[in-house]
């Protein structure tokens, strides 16, 4: 089984490309202090909005800060937001989905009705409303994105639980007297890890997109902390004179999100080739 998975995954060139992109992103954010050619906060008013050059490969921003260095440090934000937000949504989604799928009846009805209610809100509105009330800090953003994106996971896990709970191994566990908690978390949940893993990988991509949009609007990660989204804000303000401020951070977001998407779909295809469309 394991080697089957590896085999299929390694043969899928696109999935491999996605894995490499994600690996590079990890490396860049861990090695940021060594990779960045300049201090991302170093203001150089003599070099404001300088186009790409040898000294500043991706140009400088309106305060003369090096865009490449800010982007390298900004990758840490993307990584953090992607993982913490997705972690929150996976935990909530897995628990609610497990309860709904395992217990069925009114538990299921209540939880799924709650999912329907949450899906009625344009999630961007909900996120903005909560941020307006709290503080737009990176922690709040991660938590809020997580709290508004668990519904899909809940549905996935619930569907898995419904089909798994009648299987023989669950019946067997019940016969030897395992408690509900033990059956849910030790017997069934590990079998849903495949769908959870895929949902998580795709979720990271979504969270990164949301964070960048929030930061772009000035309601996300606050300057001077560099994030790809807030570099783009400066890009919008100087759109007619400094194209490099708009082009490069956007490309970074695009490639990162594509990497996670490819990785996620690659994992799905490798786990279960029948799911491929």
């Amino acid at each position: 089984m394991k080697s089957d998975f590896q085999d299929r995954f390694l043969r899928n060139k696109l999935a491999l490309a996605g894995a490499i992109v994600v690996a590079i992103l990890f490396a860049v954010s861990f090695l940021a202090p060594w990779l960045a050619p300049h201090d991302p906060h170093e203001i150089d008013l003599k070099n404001v909005l300088a186009p790409p050059s040898w000294q500043h490969p991706l140009g400088t921003d309106p305060l003369g800060r090096d865009v490449l260095s800010r982007m390298i440090w900004g990758s840490r934000i993307s990584l953090k937001v992607g993982f913490v937000a997705t972690g929150i949504s996976i935990v909530i989604g897995a628990i609610l989905g497990a309860l709904a799928g395992y217990y069925g009846r009114w538990v299921d009805a209540v939880i799924m009705r709650f999912v329907d209610i949450m899906l009625c809100f344009p999630s961007f509105f909900l996120i903005l409303a909560v941020i307006a009330i709290l503080e737009p800090s990176i922690w709040n953003i991660m938590v809020i994105i997580g709290l508004t994106s668990w519904m899909g996971v809940t549905r996935l896990v619930r569907a898995d639980f419904i089909s798994l709970k009648e299987r023989d191994f669950v019946q067997a566990a019940r016969v030897i007297g395992a408690s509900d908690g033990r059956i849910i978390f030790r017997h069934i949940l590990p079998n849903t890890m495949a769908s959870i893993l895929v949902a998580a990988t795709l979720g990271v991509a979504g969270a990164i997109l949301t964070e960048s949009a929030l930061s772009f609007l000035g309601i996300g990660v606050q300057p001077p902390t560099p994030s790809w989204g807030n570099i783009l804000t400066a890009g919008k303000d100087n759109i007619d004179i400094a194209w490099w401020l708009s082009l490069f951070p956007g490309l970074a977001i695009l490639i990162t999100v594509m990497g996670y998407n490819l990785l996620g779909e690659g994992i799905r295809d490798a786990l279960d080739p029948r799911l491929r469309d």
């Binding site: 209610i117 999630s123 903005l128 009330i133 991509a205 309601i219």
Partner: protein, 325 residues
């Protein structure tokens, strides 16, 4: 048919109650509320704002009384007064901006259908052809493009570099002096980029979805039957297959409403369009809580409405539901 619609409406009542509960919970995150322990440490909320929040939401009364009073106001669409200097009723502020937001969203939906359906059908019918692969790549990139970034790029290219399209607002400065036809064209030009971008996000997902549906449908027995009867391939695809493949798309269209409405914040802000999204953004920036809560509520109502329309059209399109009710 009417029975079916009535059923859907009844089904929406618990959703509506749930929406009000979630909105109510969000209000209670606000400074000055009983659940907020940091009131005095929160410098952003002035004493004045806190006092006004208190009267607006009756924060000094027990929780269930607060909720009841708030619901009673909601029922007659009394969303309070804006905190901004004009002190206008929130409902008025939203209603005057709603038409343009709805117009842009409806136009982008039409664009999505007009483009994604043919793409999906073509790639399904010619599965694994060059066209199928090319659109596959486009879809993949489309999923990952931050649309606000694409907006910037298109603004630079069409607005600044080529100078073809205006990049902000709904009308040119000389709009008042233009003859009717030119004035209409002027509005159309202002809408092209916002509609295109607002549709972009949905395009990728939709064409992929349409393709998957179509692939499934053309493998069904009734399609084989139609072919066996000797019907031309065109009739088989466009009359027999397409109709059935389109059905689930209606539901997905309904589900895409919240995404489109949410996206309006981004596009209306970038293109300076005076719609509900821009109002929401400005209210968030100035912490105009009554307007924020009002738009949050109206936005979810619009989603419910979108779902109702989708359900109704589904019933109209599918005789199985139409007849059985």
């Amino acid at each position: 048919m009417l029975g079916y619609i009535a059923k859907r409406l009844i089904f929406m009542i618990p959703l509506l109650i749930g929406i009000t509960v979630v909105c109510f919970a969000v209000i209670h995150l606000a400074p000055g509320s009983p659940t907020d322990l940091q009131t005095d440490l929160n410098p952003r909320a002035s004493a004045d704002a806190k006092a006004r929040l208190k009267t607006l939401y009756n924060l000094d009364k027990p929780l269930y009384v607060q909720y009841w009073l708030w619901i009673k106001k909601l029922a007659v669409f009394d969303l309070g007064e804006s905190f901004s200097s004009d002190h206008r009723p929130v409902v008025d502020k939203i209603v005057e901006r709603l038409p343009i937001t709805i117009l842009i969203n409806v136009l982008s939906m039409i664009l999505i259908i007009a483009v994604a359906v043919p793409i999906g059908v073509m790639s399904a019918v010619k599965q694994n052809s060059f066209f199928d692969r090319a659109t596959g790549i486009f879809v993949f990139i489309g999923f990952a493009v931050p649309t606000f970034w694409l907006a910037l790029l298109l603004m630079v290219f069409f607005g600044i570099h080529l100078g073809w399209l205006p990049i902000s607002g709904l009308r040119s400065l000389n709009y008042e002096y233009l003859p009717p036809w030119t004035a209409f064209l002027d509005q159309v030009k202002h809408l092209i980029l916002p509609v295109l971008l607002s549709a972009f996000g949905g395009l990728a997902g939709f064409s992929r979805y349409m393709r998957a549906n179509m692939l499934e449908v053309i493998r069904q027995d009734y399609i084989t039957t139609a072919r066996a009867k000797g019907l031309s391939e065109r009739i088989v695809i466009y009359k027999h297959a397409l109709r059935n493949a389109l059905l689930p798309v209606i539901t997905i269209l309904g589900l895409s409403v919240p995404g489109l409405i949410g996206g309006s914040v981004i596009f209306e802000t970038i293109f300076a369009i005076p719609g509900m999204g821009q109002l929401f953004y400005m209210s968030v920036m100035s912490r105009d809580y009554p307007v924020i809560m009002g738009i949050l509520f109206i936005g979810s109502l619009l989603t419910l409405l979108g779902n109702l329309i989708a359900d109704t059209s589904y019933a109209l399109a599918d005789p199985r539901i139409r007849v059985e009710g």
